[in-house]
Subunit: 345 residues, 2 copies
Amino acid sequence: MSDKPISIRDVAERAGVSPGTVSNVMNGSKPVNPALAERVRQAARELGYQADRAAALLRTGKARIIAVLVPDLDNPFFTSVVSAVETSLRDQGYELIVASSNGDEATEHSRLAAMLAWRPAGLVVIPCSDDFSARAGIEQAGVPYVIADRITREPTADTVSVDNEDAGTIGARHLLELGHRNILVAASVLTLGNIRERCAGIGATLGRAGLPPPVILESGGHFELAAARLSQWLDANRRPTAILALTNFTTLGALAALAERQIGIPRPISLIGFDDYAWMRARATPLTAIRQPVTEIGEAIWARLKARIDGDASPPAHIQLKCSLEIRASTAAPSVEDGISTGAA
Amino acid sequence: MSDKPISIRDVAERAGVSPGTVSNVMNGSKPVNPALAERVRQAARELGYQADRAAALLRTGKARIIAVLVPDLDNPFFTSVVSAVETSLRDQGYELIVASSNGDEATEHSRLAAMLAWRPAGLVVIPCSDDFSARAGIEQAGVPYVIADRITREPTADTVSVDNEDAGTIGARHLLELGHRNILVAASVLTLGNIRERCAGIGATLGRAGLPPPVILESGGHFELAAARLSQWLDANRRPTAILALTNFTTLGALAALAERQIGIPRPISLIGFDDYAWMRARATPLTAIRQPVTEIGEAIWARLKARIDGDASPPAHIQLKCSLEIRASTAAPSVEDGISTGAA
DNA sequence: TTGTAAGCGTTATCAC
DNA sequence: GTGATAACGCTTACAA
């Protein structure tokens, strides 16, 4: 409970040198006599000295802080991205400051401003909408940033996302190959570009097979809402032979709706989930799922950001990572009668 | 991409006042002539001024930063606590800096030191072990902190956790009432005090019913490991009529092991999970689960920390929140033959 | 190679 | 009520 933190001057005094020399020893910014350097390090160790990073920041103007803004800290996809970024950062002496916009534009603005006030070296943002109205504020601040997952129209910064169209394609193709012709797409919200792209990939794939566009159900961003909307839809319409979910929450919604109606998986309804979590495997019928490469996403984000921080001035890069299809037991060929009836319809 | 951030002096100049006055206006630390104040605010708005918080910190020594250290940013329980804390903080002008110790003592040390170098106003830590060897470093820094979830022996700071013994008790009692006598406890690691307390609660409850202590299987902290250990155990021993899982990952492990063996839930084996997530409900057999009050945990953490930051010097408080049992479909009375055979054994 | 001193943007303490 | 001015702890020219 010692109240005054140890300053560089305390160390200097104890080692019998000047503060400047201590700084040079600690940062290696200038060569220092080895014997002296050792004495300084010794003194620092004895006193438990830790440089005040705020003071250093003030002087240099370059904080070793990365700010991360996500729409929801309770969504495992977002936290897994945060985790992946954190892992990349940790060895390079950076700190992570995080905030959640709670999917709200106004909050996004204010949280962003608050984080920017720390003059971070870089910023990672998963915007809460494609408008990304906070962009102006960031660019005015002149902070390098990368936009992840949800890509703004005409982005003026680096972006990292998955190839959403391809993600839709591999899901649709798998169902097609199994013989499905009557597919329900469980989208979250169609105002999001990445969701629309996933839909586009599905639509194009069906189109190439000479099929009409799929039914797309906009089921909302939350689990409960998705479950309710899907339940309602299933009760009101002829049942599809397969459901293709486009987010982790809609996957849960579909699962809940099917379970509640005691509809079997993969028959009479096959299900493809989105993302890949342990709970998808820990089931009697493990879920076939479209997996986003989370670790690679985090690494790509950091690679771009680090390059910008280090002065890279090349035009914005737009990195797209491929999703993979994890084929498990929740997809199968449709029942014969379903296949015939829908195929002949 | 304007490179120089706007400083308090720029605002002062534009408003035709001194920097000190601007500071007083922005922080309300001293009364200022309303007309002047408005002029200052106007100028600040026009320039897009945002006070540099690092500079303010340097001067005041009081950062509006809270550092949070958790063992794993991919564990939804930990991230939900982070999220709950973030929600509490956001309106009070604090920022959150987070790091993961990855369950490793050395990493815990170094991450802690790095975060402490920002002179945060407070610290919340979920230690990676009960030893919590980093404690000394924190106390030397004189930062108010609260220990959450995993409680150190003889804690010298505020702690917030659930009543783990009670959590074990309500789970065991539920199984007892259903008629189970042959219960397998899926613990993660017994070096953790909270897990041992949960076990103690179970043991005591069984004891009061005149039953011997339960079989406790230490299945490890990760999903894959838990699944493997539980599988192995189930193959090598007489089957229990119920499994009581003590963490979210062991819940998943149990689910996976049972699914793989095509063992039904709740018969022949009932299952109680730990924590409460959407995936536990989105199942044909929704899971009965011991729910930790995550939001309340986050609020309690922040309440204690805020009080300490504001100078509360009362003796360390040790807050224990009660878990609740969410009874769903994964628990039922054991099959008759099982009930008889084990009851008579 | 080492010491000295200026200055980063802010807030607090003074005079006024 | 307002304006100078010093100081926070650090880095970095520049002087020695």
